[in-house]
């Protein structure tokens, strides 16, 4: 193993001798480790006795290299000009007129380098991190909290994790999502809740990670049909797996349409002739209503239609991306879900007959979907309601402002 020693930018009798001795001792230390087939075999005494940071030969080598300069500097400071330890001049640093800690802090603040949580959040929002000209409220503070969690100086006092448990991937996923997120597609409804939602789902199912894109399409799109070409191969695979997950779960769930009764999660039905044509069904194929609540696709598809071939393989999914608490596609003309449409209408919750009443206003709808009714209750069964409720509140708010254009989804695997 060859050391990459740093240059020592000072010399003298004592420091020169020390550097020579340091390098020789470092080599002798490294020789205590045995190298075999390019793998570090740690001697029993080293492994058992040493603190963990110093057991890895490669890392120890880096530390030895990194420690030489400062150790030599100490010797240089001690040696002075007349002998070791006899003329220890306080302040004999290379930069005699350096600022004090207080002066340096004041100077940094004057430069705008203020390392407080609020100041860093303000800096985060000050330039390139705006979203459509608007600060990303809450995001930087949440990020700072996550970064600081368990680290030295954690404002909440969480201790570093020394329990040898493998680290979670949450923070990594968070950063990856931020780096990879296309803000132009996230529109003005995006907030930390939805970003978290995206992370949350994308960790387990890439298809569910398309929720922000779908919601952006709902708010800003023209209602065009979304097909398999809008998905990556991995997203398609995860979409299919998510649908199969619902089939595998089976059983019953609380009716997401609000009847208060239990309904089958999977319900086979006989399609009309028009539907058989629209669904590209072949002989032996079967059509199923799939209620994805309580599965990974819950907030992406809700209730949808899935076609299986005669062998039981999922071949396609057909859905309208609309909301009973937003706008819905009007299929009263006999057209099939997933096919292009001509008319949208207010969601069912706003219409007479909902819950045997005259229909709800926006405030009532928000209360309904936030208090465990309808889809909210289904969401609470598995994924927790916060992210879903946040997303739904945007849909309701959009409807209140007349925003929202449903679009059909037709994906063939």
């Amino acid at each position: 193993m060859t050391f990459n020693w740093p240059d020592i930018p000072f010399s003298g009798t004592e420091v020169d001798a020390f550097v020579v001795e340091y390098k020789a001792l470092a080599q002798a230390i490294i020789d205590e480790y045995e190298i075999d087939n390019d793998k570090v075999i740690i001697m029993d005494k080293i492994e058992r006795y040493l603190e963990e940071p110093y057991r890895d030969i490669n890392f120890l080598k880096e530390l030895l290299e990194g420690g030489l300069l400062y150790a030599s500097f100490i010797i240089k400071q001690r040696s002075g000009g007349t002998g070791p330890g006899t003329d220890f001049i306080i302040g004999n640093s290379p930069l005699l007129n350096s600022m004090s800690s207080e002066q340096r802090g004041a100077f940094m603040r004057m430069l705008g380098c203020v390392f407080t949580k609020d100041a860093m959040a303000a800096a985060f929002n000050s330039s390139g991190n705006l979203l459509n000209g608007t600060p990303r409220s809450g995001l930087p503070l949440a990020l700072i909290d996550e970064v600081m969690n368990g680290s030295p100086g954690d404002p909440y006092g969480n201790s570093p994790n020394n329990n040898n448990q493998p680290p979670t991937s949450f923070l990594e996923d968070l950063w990856n999502t931020l780096i990879g997120a296309d803000d132009s597609a996230l529109s003005d409804w995006t907030n930390i809740g939805l970003i978290m939602q995206r992370i949350w789902f994308s960790m387990g199912n890439k298809a569910a990670g398309k929720i922000p894109d779908f919601m952006d399409n709902y708010f800003n799109g023209d209602g065009s049909q979304v097909t398999e070409t809008s998905f990556t191969p991995q997203e398609l695979a995860d979409l299919k797996a998510g649908l199969q997950e619902a089939f595998d779960k089976g059983g019953t769930i609380r009716d997401p349409a609000g009847s208060g009764t239990q309904v089958p999660r999977i319900e086979q039905f006989t399609p009309t002739s028009q539907q058989q044509f629209d669904f590209d069904m072949q002989a032996g194929d079967t059509a199923h209503i799939v209620r994805t609540y309580g599965s990974s696709l819950e907030l992406l598809l809700g209730t949808t239609i899935v076609i299986k071939d005669s062998s039981g393989n999922i071949t396609s999914v057909h859905d309208d991306y609309d909301f009973i608490y937003g706008f819905e596609v009007d299929r009263s003309d006999g057209s099939s879900p997933g096919e292009p449409y001509t008319t949208k209408q207010d969601g069912a919750m706003y219409l007479p007959g909902w819950d045997n009443g005259p229909g709800l206003n926006h405030s009532q709808v928000n209360n309904e979907i936030g208090s465990g009714a309808v889809e909210g209750s289904a969401a609470l069964e598995n994924f927790g309601g916060a992210a879903g409720r946040i997303g739904r509140s945007f849909i309701v708010g959009g409807h209140e402002q007349g925003k929202g254009t449903p679009f059909p989804i037709k994906v063939r695997f």
């Binding site: 020693w5 740093p6 240059d7 930018p9 004592e14 001798a17 020390f18 340091y22 020789a24 001792l25 470092a26 002798a28 230390i29 570090v40 740690i42 005494k45 492994e47 006795y49 040493l50 603190e51 963990e52 940071p53 110093y54 057991r55 890895d56 490669n58 890392f59 530390l63 290299e65 990194g66 420690g67 400062y70 150790a71 500097f73 100490i74 010797i75 400071q77 001690r78 070791p84 220890f88 001049i89 306080i90 004999n92 640093s93 290379p94 350096s98 340096r104 380098c113 390392f115 970064v147 680290s151 030295p152 100086g153 570093p160 020394n162 680290p167 949450f170 923070l171 990594e172 950063w175």
Partner: protein, 269 residues
């Protein structure tokens, strides 16, 4: 001001970060060009206890930014992990402390006696110095009756002499303001201003005075002091503001690595 003699390049210097790390201050000035300033010193200027492994939030961040752990193969342990899983950002402090520990171990191994205030290279063999080096980085043993369980050799450097007292003084009054304690001694404490590596272990006897005491389990070589004059010194001590109070007790005078004289100022551009 920024002559070459100040441009001391530290290998891997870019692992600095814009945060106060104990007594280490870094900052970057962005004007017509990028300039990075750093003040490097031991994060613990009194003690020699090796920094243990640290993990936490920074571990995932370190993987995110590409500092992938290198493989470590052990022969018996099931939980060896890469020490670099500390993270470049939030756990840079850990890397700093690991490097401190190794630098201290090298100084102790190479230098004569207790390694304090000297530049003289010890006369021992290389093998003995290697042994001292490893002794510096060993964990605390969990027993003393079975040789297999005795990790550190407390009869050898650094554990046999590093925490030795170099004298005592007699505090007669003490006060505390903004978490800084000021001690007056009678007679003079005897710590000369020719050195800035002094430390103190306070051991006062009664009442509120005991809140000024220094635990040797936490600070076996005491805490650093600032000399005010021949009869007075101060040290950081968290507690309520306390007016000057007469006290009875004793204080052990210790020696550590050094204060501002060991501040390594660096400048990169």
């Amino acid at each position: 001001m920024y002559t070459d003699r100040y441009k001391i390049a530290i290998e891997g210097h870019l692992d600095t970060h814009l945060e106060t790390i104990n007594s280490t201050k870094d900052f970057i000035s962005i004007g017509s060009s990028l300039e990075a300033f750093n003040l490097y010193k031991f994060s613990d200027t009194m003690n020699i206890i090796p920094a243990p492994i640290q993990s936490g939030a920074g571990s995932t961040l370190s993987r995110f930014i590409g500092r992938i752990p290198s493989p470590v193969v052990g022969t018996a342990s099931s939980h060896i992990k890469d020490p670099k899983i500390g993270g470049e950002l939030t756990n840079l402090k850990a890397i700093h402390e690991y490097r401190d520990s190794v630098a201290k171990a090298m100084l102790i191994s190479i230098l004569d006696g207790d390694s304090k205030r000297t530049t003289t290279i010890g006369v021992g063999s290389t093998a003995s110095k290697v042994s001292v080096f490893f002794n510096c980085l060993k964990k605390v043993g969990i027993g003393t009756t079975d040789s297999n369980l005795t990790f550190r050799d407390y009869s050898s450097k650094p554990w046999n002499n590093w925490n030795d007292s170099v004298g005592v003084c007699t505090p007669t009054s003490i006060s505390r303001s903004n978490n800084v304690a000021i001690v007056t001694t009678t007679p003079a404490h005897g710590m000369t201003t020719s050195f800035d590596d002094w430390g103190i272990i306070m051991n006062l006897n009664t009442g509120i005075a005991t809140s000024f005491n220094i635990s040797t389990s936490s600070y076996p070589n005491g805490v650093p002091v600032t000399i005010i004059d021949a009869d007075t010194f101060s040290y950081n001590n968290v507690g309520i503001n306390t007016p000057t109070t007469a006290v009875v007790g004793i204080a052990s005078i210790q020696v550590g690595w050094g204060g501002t004289s060991n501040d390594l100022h660096t400048y990169l551009t």
